[in-house]
Symmetry: C2
DNA sequence: CTTTGTACTTGCAAATTGCAAGTAAATATA
DNA sequence: TATATTTACTTGCAATTTGCAAGTACAAAG
C-alpha cells in the first residue's frame, strides 16, 4: 500500500500528488501509445528508468487504482499490467503534454499522430481511450 | 541559466523534463486561476512551497521562456512575473489535471468552474488563456 | 535612522533518485 | 533431470533533491 499524501484540497495539487514526477506518466504513455504491459517492456523505453523506480511507481499506480496487475496469460513468471477506467481518464493529460512538448521543443513525434491531435483533439483522445479500453480487456 | 536535460526526443518526456514535479504547475495554476504574479503571493498558497524551491522553479520557468520577470510598477523592491505565450499554452495541461483530480479524488474545486470545464472545455480553455493574456500585458 | 516589506540565499538533515549487484520463481535448453 | 535463461523484482549505497530554519540585501515607510 503505497500511500499518497494530499497536500491540499486543490484538484491540480492532488493530481500532482499522484502523477507529478518525471516517470509516472511515461509508464502510462507506454501503455496507451506503445501498447506495453509488462515490467520488462517498460524498462526498454528510451528514457531508461531504473528498476527500483519502476517497481515503486507501478506499486503506486496499482494502489491508486490506475492500473491492475495480474499473472500473464502465456507465462506464470510474467505479469500483465492493465489500465483501469481511472487510468484511461489520464489520456487527456498525456495528449496535452504531447501537444505542448511538440509545439515548444524539438522532438521526434510521429507527424501523423501530431496531425491527428491538432486537427481533432477530442476525437483523437476518444480513439486512444477506446483502444486502451479494448486492450485492457484482452 | 537553469538548464533542463532532455532525456529523450519524446514530446511527453520533454514536457515532463520541464514541468514534471510537484511544484512547477502549482506556480502556473496560481498565475492562471488566482491571478498571482509575485514571489510573496506564490508563497501564500495552501501547499506551502519552501522559499528555495520557489526561487529555483521561478528561475527554471524564466530560463525556459515560460514566464518573464520584471520590476513591479508600484514598488522597485518587488518583481512581477508574467506568462509568455509558451506559458499560456500550458493552460490545457492544467485544465486536464483539474478534471482528472476533481473526478477521482475528493477536492474542493469551485463547482461553477467544474461545470464550466465539463460543459465546454475548449471554450473554457480559450477563456482562461485570453484572461491570462490580458493580465500578462498589464 | 530604525523598522518593515519583499525577495531571495545559505546551511544542513531527511528523503528520493540512480546505479549496480543480488535474489527468486518460472521456463527453456542440454 | 540438471543447468541456464527469462522475468520481476529487492537491496545497498552514493549522489542529488527536498524541506525546514535562519540569515542577507535592498527598497520603502515611519
Amino acid at each position: 500500500m503505497k500511500e499518497i499524501k494530499q497536500r491540499s484540497s486543490c484538484p491540480i495539487s492532488t493530481s500532482l500528488d499522484v502523477l507529478g514526477d518525471k516517470w509516472t506518466l511515461l509508464i502510462l504513455r507506454d501503455m496507451v501509445f506503445a501498447g506495453k504491459s509488462t515490467y520488462g517492456q517498460f524498462l526498454q523505453s528510451a528514457e531508461k528508468m531504473a528498476t527500483n523506480i519502476l517497481a515503486d511507481r507501478l506499486a503506486v499506480l496499482e494502489s491508486q487504482g490506475i492500473l491492475t496487475k495480474a499473472v500473464a496469460d502465456d507465462k506464470k513468471s510474467k505479469f500483465t499490467y492493465r489500465l483501469t477506467e481511472k487510468g484511461i481518464d489520464i489520456v487527456p493529460i498525456i495528449v496535452s503534454l504531447i501537444l505542448w512538448g511538440a509545439k515548444h521543443y524539438l522532438t521526434d513525434i510521429n507527424p501523423a499522430l501530431l496531425e491527428e491531435l491538432q486537427t481533432g483533439k477530442d476525437a483523437a483522445i476518444e480513439k486512444y481511450q477506446r483502444l486502451a479500453r479494448e486492450k485492457s480487456l484482452a
